[in-house]
């Protein structure tokens, strides 16, 4: 299966990954190879088979809605790119 350059740019944009035109062309060739591999799945008739999303049939555990962690924001924000007054800073979103 072959995908187009515009497909690559659309996927990259959905993935929030910047790609240059040169990168997009190389990526197109590699992704086409991967999708050809994936296409092999289509040869199998899977009508009536229940999808398997997990190895163990487990039910999610419930827990009480209580605070279990201390306030660790200082430790957790130590590695943040930009912090001010305990808030993460990002470029202005609303004009």
């Amino acid at each position: 299966m072959s995908i187009s350059l515009s497909d690559v740019k659309r996927i990259a944009s959905l993935s929030r990954i910047a790609v240059s035109d040169a990168e997009a062309e190389a990526t197109r060739a590699q992704l086409s190879g991967i999708f050809s591999l994936i296409e092999e799945m289509q040869a199998v008739d899977t009508a009536g088979i229940t999808p398997m999303s997990h190895a163990q049939e487990i039910v999610l555990r419930m827990r009480s809605d209580t605070v279990t962690e201390a306030d660790l924001h200082e430790a957790f924000q130590k590695g943040a790119p930009q912090v001010e007054a305990a808030l993460y800073l990002v470029p202005k979103v609303i004009e």
């Binding site: 497909d7 690559v8 996927i11 990259a12 944009s13 959905l14 993935s15 929030r16 990954i17 910047a18 790609v19 990526t27 590699q30 992704l31 190879g33 991967i34 999708f35 050809s36 591999l37 994936i38 296409e39 092999e40 799945m41 289509q42 199998v44 899977t46 088979i49 229940t50 999808p51 398997m52 999303s53 997990h54 190895a55 163990q56 487990i58 999610l60 555990r61 827990r63 660790l72 430790a75 957790f76 924000q77 130590k78 590695g79 943040a80 790119p81 930009q82 993460y88 990002v90 470029p91 202005k92 979103v93």
Partner: protein
């Protein structure tokens, strides 16, 4: 000392023949000497390691020592360890000092083990050769022209070169077993859900599982005893009675039924690997095992299924790297969207970006049923193949990898060539079964061959028994590379 078993090291510590500070110091010296050649460690912090060794020595002195107290263990750099740089092999996390411990790290700390350092790995565990690491490839100690396998390549190389008595790994599609095979060591991926994923940086959450890597099955049992345990912070952690994984090591193998799947000995398997694996199976027959033919007809499909499901889960898991809360942020952006796009373009390597894009595509509108849903249906068929086989046998055996370690750069720029090398390991993750690899000889090029042992759910003690009895009868596991 460098080739001693964990039991022997523990006895020396208990008898005060050596202290943990001395033992840790000896291994740190060996890491210092060999790491410039092998690149197995990303971070070594002698002061932090020796501080833990002093705590261990105090535990030993006060009679509170367990089997791992004072033993240095190398930790794959996917496990968050408090105050340690934890990079997951990526530029994205190249500045990330973890503010907390993974459950696995907590367990080792509680056992009094010493963190010897953080080992190199494929970026975000995506790779089979350790060549995708931002910190450069690891070299195979048996031949530095060869890859160590991946993604836990640093851990495998560290144990093989005897830079560490033991190490941790994680296995999403073979990342413990394949590097163990290629480096001539032993490694086990437990049943999905036994080892908590809390603090283990996520790749594909329905497949990721941590496990130990060591010289022998006997050592793996000791490590597994420390690593397995219920943890409420991982929603898929299983609540089970604690089990002693060493309990069956000494059982004789008479009557053991070994399933041999024809699909694992078909086209694509190197002759030298086949020869070594067949010789190991003959050895098992001498030990009293019988051979049963089994069939895993959907083996071939496991690769396309995996390369839909794992990237789909990865694209979701890796969306958290946005340059806002931690990790790398690009210096070049005009607005928020550009900040995301440039941070991710610069922070991730090529393979990680490819997989995120594949995952995004298969989950996108209009393609979901054709790819993701179809892959999940095939996943059930793959799991059913194993269920059918285990009605006839106790363990399944075959090669871990179709060839011995390949050369660095050999697979070139074609990702699909690399993906095909995981043909024998991936299905085990899709089914959630335990799988292990033990060394059983060498290929024509002098590089190690691994035997894969696949067990039914929760049969780790049996698998370790099967591996240990072989290792009592042979000496492949105690061979060391000349480095």
């Amino acid at each position: 000392m460098f080739n001693s078993s964990l039991k022997a090291l523990s006895a020396q510590l208990a008898d005060r023949k050596i202290s943990s500070v001395e033992l840790t110091g000896e291994f740190l010296k060996r890491v210092d000497a060999l790491n410039p050649v092998l690149n197995a460690f990303i971070t070594v912090d002698p002061e932090a390691s020796l501080a833990q060794a002093r705590i261990a020595d105090a535990m030993i002195a006060s009679g509170r020592a367990g089997p791992l107290t004072g033993i240095p263990v190398a930790q794959k750099d996917i496990f968050c360890a408090k105050d340690w740089l934890t990079t997951c092999g990526s530029k994205m996390l190249s500045n990330f000092v973890s503010p907390y411990d993974a459950h696995v790290i907590e367990r080792f700390n509680a056992a009094g083990a010493v963190n010897l350092g953080k080992t190199n790995m494929d970026e975000f565990a995506m790779g089979s050769s350790n060549e995708t690491s931002f910190f450069g490839p690891v070299k195979n100690p048996w031949d530095i022209k060869a890859v160590p396998g991946g993604s836990s390549g640093g851990s495998a190389a560290a144990v093989a070169a005897r830079m560490a008595p033991a190490a941790t790994g994680t296995d999403t599609g073979g990342s413990i077993r394949q590097p163990a095979a290629l480096c001539g060591i032993s490694g086990i991926k437990p049943t999905y859900g036994l080892v908590s994923r809390y603090g283990m940086i996520a790749f594909a959450s329905s497949l990721d599982q941590g496990g130990p890597m060591a010289k022998s099955a006997e050592d793996l049992a000791i490590l597994l005893n420390a690593m397995v345990g219920f943890d409420g912070r991982d929603s898929t952690s299983l609540e089970r009675q604690p089990e002693n994984y060493a309990k069956d090591l000494e059982r004789p193998l008479a009557g053991l039924r070994i399933g041999i799947p024809a699909e694992y000995f078909a086209e694509g398997l190197s002759l030298d690997v086949e020869k070594a694996v067949q010789a190991a199976i003959s050895e098992y027959q001498k030990l009293g095992a019988t051979i049963v033919e089994v069939s895993l007809p959907n083996t071939r499909l496991s690769i396309p299924v995996y390369y839909v499901l794992a990237p789909a889960e990865a694209s979701s898991n890796l969306s958290r790297y946005d340059g806002v809360r931690y990790g790398y942020r690009s210096a070049n952006y005009k607005d928020l969207a550009e900040m995301y796009e440039n941070s991710r373009a610069e922070g991730f390597g090529a393979e990680v970006k490819r997989r995120i894009m594949v995952g995004t595509y298969v989950l996108s509108h209009g393609y979901y049923d054709a790819y993701y849903m179809q892959a999940q249906k095939l996943r059930r068929l793959i799991a059913a193949d194993f269920a059918g086989s285990f009605e006839k046998c106790d363990v399944i055996m075959g090669p871990t990898s179709p060839s011995t370690a390949f050369d660095l750069g050999e697979k070139g720029d074609d990702p699909v060539q690399m993906y095909l090398s995981d043909i024998y390991t991936i299905a085990v993750n899709l089914a959630g079964l335990p799988g292990m690899s033990i060394p059983v000889g060498f290929g024509d090029n002098g590089r190690p061959v691994g035997l894969q042992i696949i067990g039914n759910y929760f049969s780790e003690a049996k698998m370790l028994n099967v591996a240990h009895q072989y290792q009592k009868a042979t000496d492949w596991h105690s061979r060391m590379p000349n480095i």
